[in-house]
């Protein structure tokens, strides 16, 4: 499971939990408020009727002091007060009731006696009572509104009122809700995260030069913005592929187109040499040299185009890379002898590779000949081939080391970029096309390998080539 999936899943789940939690507490609260009201009314309404009659009697017989004793003997719920008002609306025991109580008492003048009046909003019950002498009184029970904070207190103090509390069954219900929410959220999260994952892998493939990559069909079948994104992505990929292909074709076409006039130029030059005597030959030599450079450049451009086109990889063969590298080393030895240099080849382990033999041969040759050109006189160029077991299979590693001046540190990275010439003493060498190492890198890349270079800490320059090896 990927990070995005986990993230979306957890957020969804948390969201569902918070929303359902809030919903449950809200209904629970409002439900218990109504329940409270009913419970208190049911408890106190009948008592009020009884108290009203008794209290008016006690007040008549024993006066306020007797009433106070009587009221004080009641067992009342906490916060509940029992008031008694005379006909003028004064509290008989001289207490100070809250304004809503006073307002209700004043409006009780016309209320029929013996009938309780309930104000659920203010939580007051009042009843008018007329004693045997015909004196009217109003008896009131005022109970406080329980705040959310107080609820647990009430609950604790009057468990009988809150009879329906969460039991084992409700815990089970909560777990079930969590589980269902979890499954639904997981599926939803995957629904969103998976196409994003597909898009990402497509983007990564394109970055890895697999330009024909397109978004997975399952993304495009959706009916949402992700499908639109997928289609836009495909359009973009198609455009990139077209551009890159067009650029490669252009390179190949230009090189091919240059071939014919250059072939004619060469023959015309030959004719000019045949017809003219020695005086002009110096300039003709120059023309010939330049034509030769153009030939070489076109040859390399065509090689590059061919490597890019991948035609040679359509029918790959299995061959021993060791024999190729050794052949190249032996051939380079001839060239090296002119400068009193030597090429030394060593091998550890056999490296059978799959690919286009001649193409790889040319790529290795570029590097080895480069090394022979740059190594100091009377030094050795060391060419080694090693087999190394790595994650994802065996690798064949070719290392070519010369004992030359090396390359300026800042230029090492650009060595493999086409036409990026390294300046020697501030001058570029006209014999070099600046394509050789670019061809080498491209060749190794299309074979699933890589090419890199570095100055050796103890002098000289090392180029490292890697290829996947068989077995």
């Amino acid at each position: 499971m990927h990070r995005l999936h986990v993230k979306i899943f957890l957020w969804f789940w948390l969201g569902v939990l918070v929303v359902s939690g809030t919903l449950v507490s809200l209904t629970e609260l409002s439900h218990s408020r109504a329940e409270d009201d009913r419970a208190w009314q049911e408890k106190y309404t009948p008592r009020l009727d009884m108290w009203a009659r008794q209290e008016s009697g006690i007040l008549r017989r024993e006066g306020p002091a007797g009433l106070e004793r009587y009221v004080g003997s009641f067992e009342m719920d906490p916060g509940v007060t029992n008031y008694i008002f005379d006909a003028d609306g004064h509290e008989v025991l001289g207490r100070n009731p809250a304004p809503p109580v006073l307002r209700l008492v004043q409006s009780m003048a016309d209320w029929p006696a013996g009938k309780p009046r309930v104000d659920t909003e203010e939580r007051i019950i009042a009843e008018r009572v007329i004693d045997v002498r015909g004196t009217p009184h109003v008896v009131v029970v005022d109970w406080p509104s329980p705040s959310v904070l107080n609820r647990s207190l009430f609950e604790f103090l009057s468990p009988d009122i809150y009879a329906q509390r969460p039991s084992g069954a409700s815990v089970g219900r909560i777990v079930a809700v969590l589980a269902v929410a979890g499954v639904v959220c997981f599926i939803m999260a995957r629904h969103i995260a998976r196409p994003i994952d597909r898009l990402r892998s497509a983007a990564r493939n394109i970055a890895n030069q697999q330009l024909q990559t397109r978004v997975d069909g399952s993304v495009l079948q959706r009916k949402d913005e992700l499908a639109d994104l997928g289609r836009d992505f495909d359009r973009m990929a198609e455009r990139i592929e077209q551009l890159v292909t067009a650029q490669r074709h252009l390179l190949a076409d230009v090189s091919h187109a240059l071939r014919s006039p250059l072939a004619r130029l060469n023959v015309a030059l030959g004719l000019a040499r045949q017809r003219n005597g020695p005086p002009t030959s110096e300039h003709l030599d120059r023309i010939e040299t330049e034509a030769e450079r153009l030939n070489k450049l076109i040859g390399q451009l065509l090689t590059m185009a061919r490597v890019d086109s991948g035609v040679d990889l359509e029918r790959p063969t299995m061959f021993d890379l060791g024999s190729v590298v050794e052949e190249v080393s032996c051939d380079a030895e001839y060239e090296a002898r002119n400068r009193q240099c030597a090429v030394e080849f060593s091998q550890q382990g056999t490296c059978v590779v799959e690919g286009a033999r001649e193409m790889l041969r040319g790529a290795v040759e570029n590097v080895v000949r480069n090394a022979v050109r740059h190594t100091a006189e009377r030094t050795r160029v060391e060419v080694s081939l090693n087999r190394r077991q790595a994650v994802g299979g065996a690798r064949a590693i070719i290392r070519v080391r010369d004992h030359g001046p090396g390359v300026p540190e800042e230029a090492v990275d650009t060595l493999f970029v086409p036409f990026n010439k390294v300046l020697t003493d501030g001058l570029s060498n006209p014999e070099r096309t600046g394509l050789g190492l670019a061809i080498t890198r491209r060749t190794f890349e299309v074979h699933g390998g890589s090419a890199s270079a570095a100055n050796s800490p103890d002098g000289g320059f090392v180029v490292t080539l890697e290829l996947p090896a068989q077995g």
């Binding site: 060469n266 023959v267 030959g270 004719l271 045949q274 153009l294 040679d312 001839y334 001649e358």
Partner: protein, 247 residues
């Protein structure tokens, strides 16, 4: 340079290339070198003219509008050992090897230097033209094991079977047999067989050797007849009296 006057049948060159202007320039250039040039611009016409046998050598471009150069080569080789020099695209090593494997005598990457072309044509022609004064002498029949080479008749046999060799392969076999048991360096082979300056990264001689190996087949005891000595050259192994060290 050949001294035989232009128009002599040996020095007629057939150029198969669709670039008419190049053909014109080439005709002019090669005429000065003593060759009579005929140009055709399509593959089909090239096959027809090459098989007529009027020419000493065919210069064949790989890129032709109708038949590919390789197809022309294949059709001509099916019926004739007419010397053929292929013009391949630069930067196309596969074409070079394919051409040599299919029996081309030599190749040249296009664009080429015309002096180089003339030198290669010259080398191929000298090879394929039996030199009466040298080759008709007695002792020019050479036999090593079951392989015999008759340089006068330019015929090679393995046992009673005639070997169908190109001129390069014939010369290669000849030089290897003459030095049988000895390792002949690659540069020596290039110089005496291909008659050109040895260039270390040119693998044409190796392709010719492998073609020759294929046509000769293994020795009666099943081993390879021509052995490669890496970095040095090739050796025709003696089998009746085994060489002191093989490879």
């Amino acid at each position: 340079m050949p001294t035989v006057p232009a128009g002599s049948p040996e020095l007629r060159v057939l150029v198969v290339d669709d670039d008419t202007e190049l053909c014109q320039l080439l005709s002019e250039y090669l005429a000065t070198e003593g060759y009579a040039v005929e140009c055709v611009h399509t593959g089909r016409r090239g096959v027809e003219r090459a098989l007529d046998g009027d020419h000493a050598i065919v210069v064949l471009d790989v890129m032709l509008p109708d038949l590919k150069g390789f197809e022309v080569l294949r059709r001509v080789r099916a019926e004739s050992r007419q010397p053929i020099l292929m013009l391949t695209a630069r930067g196309d090593e596969q074409d070079r090897i394919l051409g040599l494997e299919m029996g081309a005598d030599d190749y040249l990457a296009k664009p080429f230097n015309p002096r180089e072309l003339s030198a290669r044509i010259d080398a191929i022609l000298r090879r394929s033209r039996p030199d009466a004064s040298l080759d008709r002498r007695a002792g020019d029949r050479l036999a090593v094991g079951d392989v015999t080479v008759d340089k006068g008749a330019r015929v090679a046999r393995r046992g009673p079977d005639l070997l169908d060799l190109t001129t390069v392969e014939f010369d290669l076999l000849d030089i290897l047999l003459r030095g049988a048991g000895r390792v002949i360096p690659r540069d020596e082979l290039v110089q005496s067989v291909l008659r050109r300056e040895f260039s270390p990264f040119d693998r044409s001689i190796d392709t010719h050797v492998s073609n020759l190996r294929r046509k000769l087949g293994p020795a009666p005891d099943g081993s390879e007849r021509i052995k490669g000595v890496r970095g040095i050259g090739y050796q025709y192994a003696l089998h009746e009296r085994p060489a002191p060290h093989e490879r």
